[in-house]
């Protein structure tokens, strides 16, 4: 049976950071919006990115406009998401035989310095090998020189959620775990969508325009209306280490001359990325041992003790790069394009936004919203470049003050402030829940309960994305049972549902951990297995 939802101006399909940013942009222009995400917010390409808001100096070799646009928009994001971002200072080391010698590398940085003020960043500094090792004692003794370079880091899960939240506050409706199954049509015209909601019901939603922001799934969505989007999807794998391995982000040259980066983001470090054409099933992405070996081999040349560190998991995502014939993956442009399918395929009412990268999500949303509003005859302008995201406006407390006010540890307060900014104290409205539920992430029961109550957390994996549950070295061993209780109390789960939630999370997490487990990872698995040996149905 299919229910009929209310009609709106625009339905946006896809809750990655671009779709979320688009819903926000449209809602702030006064457009009525329904945002639909088949899984969870930023659970696809956005979440599996390198977590960087960067200008991309390597694009200087191909396309300065992309670098300029990217830096300009990164500047906007830095201003509107102040609490979510952190400075990533790179050391770009040079070893004998590297593709770029120090002079060419410094030249590129001198050029890039012209763009750095656009995103509130400092110019580069050139260092000798010895000075670089003073900054980062883990660097190889073979490093002969280095330059610094600044970018910004962000947790894409929180960035996407902040956009969803702001869209909702501006009047949009946003539903995760709501998968679009068909586009509704009147003749050739797209007039809405049919989706399966989180509770399993089929619902129809009418709209004047439907925007396909489904990332690598965009061709599949467009095909529902016999429209075409040509992408050249590229798979990107990252290894996630359980802690900060270095103060500075470090670049390294891989065996094929590509650049990979080791980037600390708060309490984790990402090593990535691979970049390979992908023809497989988007729902069955796997991290392959070869990809792990490739990344570790590259990092080891510059950061020799990388193999002694403990990987916690790996991520895989697919970049929705615009189709181009011939260039190898690394040289594909990161341009984006808005398709009005009335012009390209004779399908009025359907738009697709594809290509681009995380750093440009706000600009991509703005350009798409301009196109949609122009078609709908709406004249309101974009407000997303200046309006702070939730938590970024107003003054945030200091960690020790928040800790003292609510009886939590200062570390828990610092993490909370990073996620919620000036709205952190609202999260702690229930002071009885100051106890830590995830000790590795210093996550309080109050924040977890809040995420279920107010942040659309419906599964433990959603909580991993929203508040970092089980993101640390214990990988959930010590916390998922209690976490299921806390979330279950909010969502009305019975004992059996709590067990199922734990099992589902641990099995999913295992798929991400299996490709990178070392002996200490196996010790962790043993502990987890032992703790759950008595469970009905095993684990």
């Amino acid at each position: 049976m299919t229910g009929l939802d209310s009609a709106q101006d625009v339905v946006v399909i896809g809750g990655g950071v671009t779709g979320a940013g688009l819903a926000r942009d449209l809602a702030l222009r006064g457009v009525s919006v329904l945002l639909l995400e088949g899984g969870d917010w930023a659970a696809g390409t956005s979440g599996a990115s390198s977590w960087m808001i960067h200008g991309g100096p390597r694009y200087l070799e191909y396309d300065w406009d992309t670098t300029r646009q990217s830096c300009e928009d990164a500047g906007h994001i830095v201003r509107i998401a102040r609490h979510l971002i952190h400075r990533c200072v790179f050391l770009l080391p040079v070893l004998p035989g590297d593709k770029l010698g120090i002079e060419r590398l410094e030249t590129a940085m001198e050029v890039y310095d012209r763009f750095q003020p656009l995103k509130d960043s400092h110019p580069h500094v050139r260092l000798s090998g010895a000075e670089a090792r003073l900054l980062e004692p883990g660097l190889s003794p073979r490093v002969v020189a280095a330059v610094t370079m600044e970018e910004w880091g962000v947790d894409p899960h929180r960035l996407a959620w902040a956009n969803v939240l702001d869209a909702v506050r501006a009047g949009a409706r946003a539903l995760n775990h709501s998968r679009v199954e068909a586009l509704l049509r009147d003749g050739a015209t797209v007039i809405g969508v049919r989706y399966r909601s989180a509770d399993g019901q089929r619902v129809e939603a009418r709209a004047k325009a439907v925007v396909n922001a489904a990332g690598p799934w965009a061709p599949e969505v467009a095909a529902m209306a016999a429209a075409a989007v040509s992408l050249r999807p590229a798979k990107g794998v990252h290894i996630v280490y359980d802690r900060r391995l270095s103060n500075f982000a470090i670049s390294a040259e891989a065996v094929d001359g590509r650049e990979v980066v080791l980037v600390p983001h708060g309490p984790i470090t990402l090593l990535g990325t691979t970049d390979d054409d992908y023809y497989g099933d988007l729902e069955a992405l796997e991290v392959l041992p070869d990809e792990v070996d490739y990344l570790v081999q590259a990092a080891e040349r510059t950061f020799p003790d990388i193999r002694r560190h403990r990987p916690a998991r790996a991520t895989a995502g697919v970049r929705p790069t615009l189709f181009q014939w011939r260039p190898n993956e690394d040289r594909l442009s990161r341009r984006f394009e808005v398709f009005d399918h009335e012009k390209s395929d004779g399908v009025p009412g359907l738009f697709t936004i594809a290509g681009g990268k995380l750093s440009m999500y706000r600009l991509m949303a703005e350009v798409t919203a301009d196109a949609v509003c122009s078609r709908l005859g709406i004249e309101a302008g974009c407000a997303t470049a200046e309006r702070p995201l939730p938590g970024a406006g107003g003054l945030a407390q200091q960690p020790h003050e928040l800790a003292a006010d609510h009886g939590i540890s200062a570390l828990a307060a610092a993490r909370l402030l990073k996620r919620h900014g000036s709205e952190a104290s609202e999260v702690l409205e229930d002071d009885r829940r100051g106890r830590l539920v995830c000790r590795c992430e210093a996550l309080t029961e109050a924040e977890l309960a809040y995420s279920a109550r107010r942040e659309q957390v419906r599964t433990l994996a959603d909580a991993f994305r929203r508040v970092g549950l089980a993101a640390g070295p214990c990988a959930g061993t010590a916390c998922v049972d209690r976490a299921a209780q806390v979330i279950g109390e909010q969502l009305g789960w019975n004992q059996s549902q709590r067990r199922d939630a734990c099992r589902e999370y641990l099995v999913g997490a295992w798929r991400c951990r299996a490709p990178v487990l070392d002996r200490w990872g196996w010790a962790q698995e043993e502990l987890a297995y032992g703790a759950r040996r008595g469970w009905p149905g095993g684990h």
Binding site: V125, P264, L411, G472, L527
Partner: protein, 135 residues
Amino acid sequence: MGRRSSLVRLGWAYARHQLRRRFRGPLPAHAQDVLNTYAEDRLQPLTLSERGQLPAISRCVNCGLCALVVKRVGGVRLADLPAAYLRDYTQLAAAATDLEGGDPGTHALLSAAAVCPVSVPLAEVAAAVRRLGAS
């Protein structure tokens, strides 16, 4: 702007760079200059010894056995030092108040380390956390 134009501009920049290098030489830069620039971001480097211990610290499986021997360092459960506090050491200054108070002493920490099934060097962990928290 296409690839050809990008390469021409980079080529021009390279020529200017080489000329500058020839007539002015490299501008001196030191690690301390970089640290001063990023003081607000708290990118204090680990010592060589701390750096060397980091892989062993990341072995912690948060089993909690060590906390049976030494409950707390300051206000923090001992097992949380490697599993939580020494994960993002740039944040330790913000969490310094958690570490105020009782110091169990090296002997007790060595006893706790002795029961650790994955040999996390807990005395060194406590020392590093205190140093970075105070810096």
